[in-house]
């Protein structure tokens, strides 16, 4: 780190404090630390314990395509291209695995109505020159022998991939530690610290836990009080608290991003035979299934506007199982090992909020809605570029971001 930056750090504390230890927050922290920044992550619960824990980890820009969202497609395609390198770097740094697999995705139409709808989306995919092919039922079953015998065809997107978000969070956490990031668990942000109009740090709740594992060099710095209600000062506060980003009471109201929780219920099944339940991501209009290398199958997901409710409902489980069974009858023989509900951070236009916040010192990395796992490398890169003063970042922020334009002085 250059001498003048070091001097600034001593004056201010950290270069960045990242609020939220999900995949987005950890990826941002890791990228920043690799660029030489001193970073602390504040995680209220356990790292990767929020939406990350529940996410299926589909990296599927082609299959998720809908009409009228060209900006989002550009982002998801860019992120999908970044992924192999992102994962390879992390795995090389830590020796762990993020469970990344280029599985390909098969979207199946179960009846004539669904076929008409799927063909309509497929026309859009073709008009955008995306990698996707219409396959008759026989070809679909060659790819995926477990499919129901009776359906009307499918679209195969060979380039789609998946990652295991929990494994990804683990390698990100390990990589953060390698880079000297201080990750504090049980540390809840309760207050912003302001100098004039500028946000210069975060006060955490009294009784918040200490660091999960402090990097030796920082241990000796010992500049932080252990007592509750501790102040953590930083040049930049990165808000990465997912669905809770809109409920940040420690920010003035105008600076809270327009993020709302959108509930999703997900099931986890496990195969009881050698044969994997599916070889590819398999999806219909109403459900998707992602096979994991260890024989698990993730079935998702409901989309519910229910505030912060995370109850798993009988109706939600029923719907997911019914639709999964209609596609892959073998599902009935699998062990149901888990059902969970998580909260996606939704924004008014479905685009993420990544960029300068509405007050000085605040940077947003939130609002990734259905694509948080996929967009993580892109968001991390954009935040790192922003903090290093590089404006060439390709990230398109949401129209809902009423923050400052990227020409504002936020560089360290």
């Amino acid at each position: 780190m250059p001498a003048e930056a070091r001097a600034l750090t001593e004056k201010r504390g950290f270069d960045a404090v990242v609020v939220g230890g999900g995949v987005i927050g950890l990826a941002c922290a890791w990228r920043l630390a690799r660029g030489g920044a001193e970073v602390v992550v504040l995680e209220r619960g356990e790292p990767g314990g929020g939406a990350t824990r529940v996410a299926a980890g589909m990296l599927a820009p082609v299959g998720e395509l809908t009409f009228g969202e060209p900006e989002l497609l550009e982002l998801t395609l860019a992120a999908a291209r970044l992924y192999p390198e992102f994962v390879a770097e992390l795995e090389a740094a830590t020796g762990g695995s993020a469970g990344y697999e280029r599985l390909g995705a098969l979207h199946v139409a179960l009846d004539r109505d669904e076929a008409a709808q799927l063909r309509r989306v497929h026309e859009l995919q073709r008009s955008l020159e995306l990698e996707a092919a219409w396959l008759p039922p026989r070809r679909c079953r060659e790819l995926e022998p477990g499919l129901t015998p009776s359906f009307h065809g499918g679209v195969f997107a060979a380039g789609e991939a998946a990652v295991d978000p929990r494994a990804l969070a683990r390698v990100l956490l390990a990589a953060c530690e390698t880079e000297g990031v201080e990750v504090r668990t049980g540390a809840e942000a309760v207050d912003g610290i302001f100098e004039g109009e500028r946000l210069v740090g975060i006060r955490i709740a009294p009784g918040s836990a200490g660091p999960l594992k402090r990097y030796a060099e920082q241990e000796s710095a010992g500049s932080f009080a252990r007592a509750g209600g501790e102040e953590i000062r930083a040049e930049t506060v990165v808000l990465a608290s997912g669905a809770w980003s809109g409920a940040t009471e420690w920010l003035p109201e105008h600076a809270r991003p327009p993020v709302r929780p959108v509930k999703g219920q997900v099931l986890e099944l496990r195969s009881r035979v050698e044969e994997p339940p599916a070889r590819h991501i398999v999806a219909s209009e109403r459900v998707y299934m992602v096979p994991r290398p260890d024989g698990r199958l993730v079935v998702g997901a409901t989309v519910e506007e229910m505030g912060f409710d995370t109850a798993v409902t009988a109706g939600g489980v029923h719907e997911l199982l019914r639709e999964a069974y209609r596609l892959l009858p073998d599902v009935a023989e699998m062990e149901l090992i888990g059902a969970a509900a998580g909260l996606r951070p939704g924004t008014p236009d479905n685009l993420p909020l990544v960029g300068p916040g509405a007050i000085d010192g605040l940077v947003l990395a939130t609002g990734h809605f259905r694509n948080g796992i996929l967009l993580a490398p892109l968001a991390a890169q954009a935040v790192a570029d922003l903090l290093s003063g590089d404006r060439r970042s390709s990230f398109v922020p949401s129209k809902a971001n009423k923050g400052r334009t990227p020409t504002t002085e936020v560089a360290r």
Binding site: D113, R260, E305, G307, G315, A400
Partner: protein
């Protein structure tokens, strides 16, 4: 402060907000059925009170309904728009807001089972901002008991005794279960609800629902979400002809011509959901449906010519001046 109101100079007190200009324009109670533009930009109803005016600004107050602002009555209230819109299924809140604004709707349905009324920053915030009337529905209910319970929860949650009553017979067709529907309608009417039942295109059942005290009947044109249009226009015409309560064509609208046909057949209004959110461009489709409804209503009032088997020249020979 002097502003320009509908092209003419107008004096308003200092600090006046946009709603003062709307009142000054002579628009009715709450500005129902009008759209307001400030310096050429449309301002949503919910923002009138908080939008300050400055010296010299131009305010235009436009009647949203062309041709003399004809209104219709539902549940003891006057409405301008004959298009009721659903709120589920949109790809984003922003898209929903733009489409609802474009549709000109005044009433939107909300499924209690899918939307938490207390959730902030969500569907209901958009509805509030647009100043729309919330009509909760009992989507997803399969028995009278379930529907009645859901209606009561909706009354608490949304502070309204209006309910769009849906009692579904099976999840493949989503056709109404006539027996359970009538049972639920009777119970809810007795409990003081304003009941708007989603019903089959069966004139007898429609009459029974009306007799049970429902505030309207909402026959389907074809199955929910099918976009198959009005499959039995004769039955819809019979229902519309005989009903003394408003008839709102509920399911099956696929495009603007279906909306126009419903009004031509004598329906008072339509409800559209998947026709809007499922379109490639929902905002344009919302506009198209609004115009379809307006065109259908005008055609109904205008009185169409009878259908004939043989040609009838539009210019008769008799009495023509001899120009040779």
């Amino acid at each position: 402060m002097r502003i320009e109101l509908n092209g003419a100079p107008h004096e308003l007190p200092e600090q006046a907000t946009l709603d003062a200009a709307v009142r000054a324009s002579g628009a009715g109670e709450g500005g129902r059925g009008v759209a307001v533009a400030l310096d050429g930009e449309v301002v949503p109803r919910g923002e009138w009170e908080t939008t300050p005016l400055r010296e010299g600004q131009a305010v235009e107050v436009l009647a949203a309904i062309q041709g003399g602002a004809e209104t219709w009555e539902l549940g003891g209230r006057e409405w301008g728009s004959r298009l009721i819109a659903g709120t589920g299924g949109f790809r984003s809140l922003e898209q929903m807001e733009q489409a609802l604004a474009a549709s000109g709707t005044e009433i939107v349905t909300v499924a209690l089972r899918r939307v938490d009324p207390a959730a902030e920053g969500s569907v209901l915030d958009v509805i509030d901002r647009l100043g729309l009337f919330v009509l909760p529905n009992t989507a997803g209910c399969y028995t009278a008991r379930d529907a009645v319970r859901t209606a009561k929860l909706a009354r608490e949650a949304f502070a309204t005794d209006w309910i769009k009553l849906e009692v579904i017979g099976d999840d493949r067709t989503l056709f109404p279960d006539a027996v359970e529907l009538l049972d639920a309608a009777e119970q809810l009417v007795a409990d003081g609800f304003t009941v708007l039942p989603y019903t089959n295109d069966d004139p007898i059942l429609a009459r029974r629902l009306e007799e049970a005290g429902c505030a309207a009947v909402m026959p389907l044109g074809s199955p929910i979400g099918s976009g198959a249009g009005i499959r039995n226009p004769y039955n819809i015409a019979i229902i519309a002809e005989r009903a003394e309560v408003p008839v709102i064509l509920d399911a099956g609208i696929g495009t603007a011509s279906d909306a126009a046909q419903a009004l031509e057949l004598g329906c008072d209004a339509i409800l559209a959901a998947s026709a809007i959110f499922g379109a490639e461009d929902p905002v344009s489709m919302a506009t198209a449906l609004r115009r379809g409804v307006e065109a259908g209503r005008l055609a109904r009032v205008a009185g169409r010519i009878p259908r004939r088997t043989h040609a009838e020249a539009s210019t008769a020979y008799e009495g023509l001046p001899d120009l040779s």
